[in-house]
């Protein structure tokens, strides 16, 4: 500490020392409002009569001191400092009638209100935690009775589970596996089943189209699907040696018959 500083008024030195004591503790504050509340307590007046101007000066001095000591202050402390500097200048200067928005006094009053409210909530939380509490000063039944005559299963779920289930569904929506949703499709399994059941009657060459199921024979998508599946089924059965396939020429009807007994 230099001599020049030591010559300052005692008050100011005391204030500076206090500010420096605070700096050591800077991590102990929850944020600018918390710090402001601590500073305002030093005015030793009812928060309703706090001097916001004085408070702004204290805060700015604190930020200055922190800078001088090369302490990194979080951005929100600096934002508050800028705002308080602005408020201070507005409070000091005569009001500019052309200026729009809330007056400096309104802003100062709101800050005082915020401090008072935070203080009130601090006190309230202290009083709340100081109350008689369950399991500490008063007690619930130590041995709840369960004269259960019947057992009942109760299904339960928590809100969190419910909401997480929903969130899970919402994600999965995007990854729904590819599914064949068309309805006019005649599955191979059905065709195979049908052909196996009917082939016994086909001792002579029979047109493959004759094996199509009723309702799938009219021209169109359904017929094409049924024909394709039935043809695939016939190939499968031919491979297994159960039937023979014949086609007279390109695009001629495909004919099938039961494979003669001797050839099996």
């Amino acid at each position: 500490m230099s001599d020049a500083e030591a010559t300052q008024s005692g008050d100011s030195v005391a204030a500076r020392l206090e500010d420096e004591a605070l700096i050591v503790d800077v991590d102990g504050y929850e944020g600018p409002l918390d710090l402001l509340l601590t500073l305002s307590r030093r005015q030793k007046v009812d928060l309703r009569r706090i001097s916001v101007l004085q408070l702004a000066e204290q805060y700015l001095r604190f930020v200055e001191a922190a800078r001088a000591l090369r302490i990194e202050l979080a951005a929100d402390y600096l934002v508050m400092a800028a705002w308080l500097a602005f408020l201070k200048s507005r409070l000091l200067l005569p009001p500019d009638p052309s200026e729009e928005g809330p007056s400096a006094e309104d802003l100062a009053a709101h800050l005082a209100f915020q401090l008072e409210r935070l203080e009130a909530m601090r006190e309230a939380s202290g009083r709340l935690m100081g109350r008689d509490r369950l399991g500490r000063e008063f007690f619930a039944r130590g041995e709840p009775e369960t004269h259960a005559i019947e057992k009942r299963t109760q299904h339960t779920a928590t809100l969190l589970e419910l909401v997480q289930a929903y969130a899970r569904l919402r994600t999965r929506d995007e990854f729904r596996p590819y599914a064949f949703d068309r309805t006019d499709v005649y599955p191979l399994e059905l065709a195979l089943e049908r052909l196996r059941g009917m082939i016994g009657e086909a001792i002579n060459w029979s047109d493959l189209a004759g094996f199509l199921p009723p309702g799938w024979r009219a021209a169109g998508g359904r017929r094409r699907s049924a024909l394709a599946s039935t043809f695939a089924a016939s190939l499968e059965m031919a491979k297994q040696g159960q039937l023979e396939i014949q086609q007279g020429e390109t695009f001629a009807p495909i004919r099938v018959r039961l494979r003669p007994q001797g050839d099996r």
């Binding site: 009775e145 009942r152 109760q154 299904h155 419910l162 999965r172």
Partner: protein
Amino acid sequence: MTDETDLDDDDAPGLFPVPPIAEQERMIEAILFASAEPVTAAELTRRLPEGSDVGEALVHLRSRYAGRGVHLVRVGSGWAMRTAPDLGWLMRTEQVETRRLSRAAIETLAIIAYHQPVTRAEIEEIRGVSLSRGTIDQLMELDWIRFGRRRMTPGRPLTFVVTDGFLDHFGLETPRDLPGVKELREAGLLDSRGMPGQQRSSEDEDEENPGQTELFED
């Protein structure tokens, strides 16, 4: 940090006059109520202020509870409060085995809660699998869902909505108070995993629910 003021722990006996018998009775009443198991007379004597007459206080307490819904009874070597045997039938529902809801059920419930009124087809569309009858039955039995109005679309499908019992169980005032995915994440209740945007047309499928007509009406 709030200072939780320590209560002056003064059970220091001897220094204080013996409390009146009615006060001793109160103390025993509180101890027996809060204790997880029967308490012996010796233990009571140890816990009560010195000079207390536990035996006499117990006699008073016992007669005070005579004919009440709760009795003071001897259990083995200890004393305990027990509900009157003739009221046992009232305790019937106390014993419940809680089991977690199946995944299918909770997902279905979630969809109904978030999308109500919602048709069966819509639920199936969102979940990507068909809805088993058992799931709906279970949720109905729990009184968490019920039938809503029929949808005014072809086929007039039934819809499902959640009940007041659902709101009660999940501590909600209205289904609109269900938090959105974003809000959950903000509240730190969900992994901060990216959640793709939700896109679903709420077009009504015309779908019949055969066999459920008779269940409609609530």
